[in-house]
């Protein structure tokens, strides 16, 4: 589902590699946790997957799409296939909760009826019923993150990428968010989650990839991991 082959990313000539010859293979329906200190290269990895950045060298294939052959005009099409949850939520400030989630459907050309049927269901999954008409600024951090997740899953993507989705949340809300990601994974979505929260890693019992200084230093299934 996700294949990175000897991928290197350098932001400038003077600096070192943000990612150094990373090779990673993620199977469909897998739940992979990427851990590492701040600056280790986790976010760069996700930015490469969403084509916010292009690799300096190496090959990336996601959902059968070879990024080397991807033209600028096709990037939106790729992004529509991947659900992304950002650490800083990235909600549209001038849209309500409902509109933020509906927007993800509008851009793929969903009909009004599809939007009306789907958005309330997704709001139910992330426990945000009753908050449809709130603006993002009226929500707590945990609620905003759940809106971001709802927006990422509403198109039922085959791949969901979550960049430190619990980074700004207290433990209770953080765990709520993780439970939603687990639920989505059970429905068949491949999930790639980055975190530096050891508690979450221990509780989830999934495959863990560790990045340090731009290199993968370990890639192992958690002791309690069942595929």
């Amino acid at each position: 589902m996700i294949l990175l082959d000897r991928v290197t990313k350098k932001y400038s000539r003077s600096e070192g590699e943000a990612l150094n010859r990373i090779t990673l293979h993620v199977e469909p329906k897998e739940f992979v946790i990427v851990v590492g200190q701040s600056g280790a290269g986790k976010t760069t990895l996700l930015r490469l997957l969403t084509c916010e950045e292009r690799p300096t060298s190496g090959k990336i294939i996601v959902g059968g799409i070879d990024y080397d052959k991807l033209k600028d005009k096709d990037i939106p099409l790729l992004r529509r296939k991947i659900g992304v949850v950002f650490q800083d939520f990235k909600l549209l400030p001038n849209k309500t909760v409902y509109e933020n989630i509906a927007f993800a459907l509008e851009i793929v050309g969903a009909t009004n009826r599809e939007i009306k049927n789907t958005v309330p269901k997704v709001l139910g999954i992330v426990n945000l019923k009753g908050k449809e008409n709130n603006m993002p600024r009226e929500l707590s951090g945990g609620e905003r993150q759940r809106v971001a997740i709802a927006r990422a899953i509403v198109r039922q993507p085959r791949i969901l990428v979550a960049d430190e989705p619990t980074g700004n949340l207290d433990p209770k809300h953080a765990w709520d968010v993780i439970k939603v990601l687990e639920k989505i994974n059970r429905y068949g979505t491949t999930v790639l989650l980055t975190t530096h929260n050891q508690d979450i890693v221990n509780k989830l019992k999934r495959r863990v990839v560790t990045i340090q200084g731009g290199k993968i230093t370990s890639d192992r299934a958690h002791a309690g991991y069942k595929q």
């Binding site: 292009r54 099409l77 992004r79 992304v84 549209l92 400030p93 993800a104 509008e106 851009i107 009004n112």
Partner: protein
């Protein structure tokens, strides 16, 4: 087809809703647009008024050809017919001796001494041909015709358009031509400055919301679906600013019409300006709307471009 219409409808409604939700930013941007569009409208009306005043001045200038009393009607008719055939001749009018006297009496109705002086003698005024040229700067062909020996022999005196008078009239026509050019130049300059100011204003408004564009890009929205609502919003700015600028000028005329009734400020005839505004109301409104919409739309298309680019390397 239906899908395209749904998308278009979503873009329009989103743009309108965004306009309402960002009303503070919208008012700030529109305030600047209203001021600049008002200046452009003012310069258009001022230019029309100047042009009118200039036309009135130059319209009064004609060439009078004084005929001898001994000229036969056939000779006069021939001269008039030949004059009419000349290029750059707008009209040719013949005044007989009696008509010339009548006109003289009318022109000097307030001065009895002058009128009586003429009445006491037999009519000394010559029959006159009045020639109005199309363009005062290009009357050389008329002058050449009038100075032909055969034609000159029929004249009792030199034509009015000669000597010192000619020099004075030339100065006036030169000055009016310069004023006309300044008027057109002012409109062009004001419109250019207006375009720059509006572009910067909309660029600032979009700069404030660049994060929204980035987010929409990350979610996979197409360029047109991101840009569309911004274009609609800017078009709304343009429409409202155009209407407001016309309303402001209208209000200014209403306020000024009482205070400046029948008065004029040098070359700026307020009454003419008012009537010009009234008679051209729809076309002026159209110009302002078109200017507002075009500048708004073009500015928003250019301003969103930089935030829509992908990082390709």
């Amino acid at each position: 087809m239906k899908r395209h219409l749904v998308t278009l409808w979503r873009i329009i409604t989103t743009g309108t809703v965004n306009f309402m939700r960002n009303i503070g930013l919208a008012i700030a941007a529109m305030a600047v647009m209203v001021v600049t569009l008002t200046i452009v409208l003012f310069s258009i009306i001022t230019n029309a008024t100047f042009t009118n005043t200039i036309s009135q001045i130059t319209g009064k200038i004609d060439i009078s050809v004084f005929l001898k009393d001994s000229d036969t009607p056939a000779q006069t008719t021939l001269v008039i017919a030949q004059l009419k055939k000349l290029p750059n001749v707008k009209s040719v009018q013949y005044l007989s001796k009696a008509q010339a006297l009548q006109q003289y009496e009318q022109q000097n109705a307030g001065n009895e001494q002058l009128v009586n002086a003429i009445d006491e003698t037999s009519n000394p005024l010559p029959a006159t041909i009045l020639i109005k040229p199309v363009n005062l700067n290009q009357i050389q062909n008329i002058k050449t015709y009038l100075t032909q020996p055969a034609v000159f022999a029929l004249q009792s005196d030199a034509p009015t358009y000669s000597g010192d008078r000619e020099a004075a009239i030339n100065k006036i026509t030169h000055a009016t031509d310069v004023l006309r050019e300044i008027g057109v130049f002012a409109i062009v300059i004001f419109t250019f400055i207006c375009a720059l100011i509006i572009f910067n204003t909309i660029q600032m408004a979009i700069f404030n919301r660049r994060d929204e564009i980035t987010i929409m890009r990350l979610l996979g929205a197409s360029t047109s679906y991101i840009r569309g609502p911004f274009v609609v919003e800017s078009a709304i700015y343009g429409i409202l600013s155009g209407v407001f600028s016309v309303l402001i000028i209208n209000a200014a005329f209403l306020a000024a019409s009482n205070a400046l009734q029948a008065s004029s400020l040098g070359l700026l005839d307020i009454n003419y300006a008012n009537s010009y505004f009234d008679s051209h109301f729809l076309s002026l409104l159209g110009i302002q709307l078109a200017l507002g919409i075009v500048l708004g739309v073009v500015s928003s298309v250019i301003a969103t471009r930089r935030y829509l680019k992908f990082k390709t390397k």
